[in-house]
């Protein structure tokens, strides 16, 4: 449901490279706990570069493509609006500040890594973050719960890569073929 105000104000692409860079910079700068919600907020709500439906569509494309989703989004949109310079400025804008942040944090940690308490706490944060992965997988996989072929594929991928530690490059082709066959038969 779109509000009247949103309908009256048609989306308008960024005016130039500067605005493009700055917009993506603010996305990266504020992206605590996930980039995607901020990408939506900045591009759809604040700057009105995109209509909500357009955003959803570009997102679908970028989730379909391999690689970092929001990074791909910066490339696709930057290109659409300002060609190669646009793709570069959007991507660099998105990554610039988070890159510095994460390195600064890692260096800060490295300085205190000899402290066993700090080490334990940081490892525990990593373990908690790993738990977030598990929670995300459960959420994504919920629609599969009643599809035996889906559950079997999930477990097989988990066992091969997580337990047996087989290379992804060996697992992926097999899993992809099996999943495509199952999907074509309507099992997924």
């Amino acid at each position: 449901m779109e509000t009247e105000a949103a309908q009256q104000q048609a989306p308008r692409p960024p005016a130039g490279l500067g605005e493009l860079f700055w917009g993506f910079f603010t996305i990266g700068a504020r992206a605590f706990g996930g980039v995607l919600p901020w990408a939506h907020r900045v591009m759809v709500e604040e700057r009105r570069w995109l209509a909500p439906a357009e955003f959803a569509e570009i997102l679908a494309l970028c989730q379909f493509l391999p690689g970092p989703n929001v990074g791909n989004m910066s490339i696709v949109l930057g290109r659409r609006w300002c060609g190669l310079p646009g793709a570069l400025s959007a991507f660099l804008g998105l990554m610039a500040l988070p890159f510095c942040w994460v390195l600064a944090l890692a260096m800060l940690y490295a300085e205190h890594a000899s402290n066993p308490v700090v080490r334990t706490v940081v490892t525990s944060v990593g373990v908690a973050a790993a738990g977030l992965f598990i929670g995300t997988a459960l959420k994504l996989g919920r629609p599969l719960a009643r599809k035996p072929a889906g559950v079997a594929l999930v477990l097989a991928c988990f066992a091969a890569v997580g337990l047996a530690r087989v290379s992804l490059l060996a697992v992926l082709p097999v899993a992809a073929v099996l999943a495509l066959l199952a999907s074509r038969r309507g099992w997924l």
């Binding site: 493509l65 690689g67 988070p98 940081v122 908690a128 992804l168």
Partner: protein, 170 residues
């Protein structure tokens, strides 16, 4: 370092659904195959990348940094993003043509179980840097449950993990 960059470039193209599904593979290569760092260190870098704001693909730059300093950080990030970016560049204009093609829906549905299995594997591998132990299992289980059942901001869940770790291991 060039070896790492080439490998990341390759992974970039199979990273369906973002970086999460290739995390277990990165850990396998960096820790088990190459021995560039310990499993515990890898989980710690993962912690830093998740607690810092920004795209979670930045874990690649931390791995690069550990292996070869700042230049390594830049190179690893570029290696992981560039091939996918080139693909996105090329496909971006074709998308309108195959957006509604039936094979796209088939492919998208096929990707779900594979991605879910791989993300689960990543969670398991990163949560067990020192093998299975009940304290880490408890922290990971609690954080998975918190994400699944509540709408808490993930940052609070990470903070909870820090507190739980400090208490459990003191």
């Amino acid at each position: 370092m060039l070896e790492l960059a080439a490998y990341f470039a390759l992974l970039s193209l199979v990273a369906v659904g973002g970086i999460a599904p290739v995390m277990p593979e990165m850990q396998r290569v960096v820790v088990e195959a190459k021995g560039w760092m310990e499993a515990e260190e890898f989980t710690q870098l993962f912690a830093v990348s998740q607690a810092a704001p920004g795209p979670n693909v930045l874990i690649t730059s931390l791995i690069g940094w550990k292996v070869a300093g700042i230049a390594g950080a830049l190179l690893a990030l570029a290696a992981f993003c560039l091939p996918a970016a080139v693909l996105a560049w090329g496909v971006g204009s074709l998308w309108d043509r195959f957006r509604d093609a039936p094979w796209r829906k088939v492919t998208q549905r096929a990707l779900v179980p594979v991605t879910v299995g791989l993300i689960l594997a990543g969670g398991y591998v990163l949560a067990t840097p020192a093998g299975l132990d009940w304290k880490n299992a408890l922290i990971a289980g609690a954080s998975a449950a918190a994400l699944y059942f509540t709408k808490l901001n993930p940052l609070w869940i990470l903070a909870g993990g820090a507190i739980a770790g400090a208490v459990l291991y003191s």
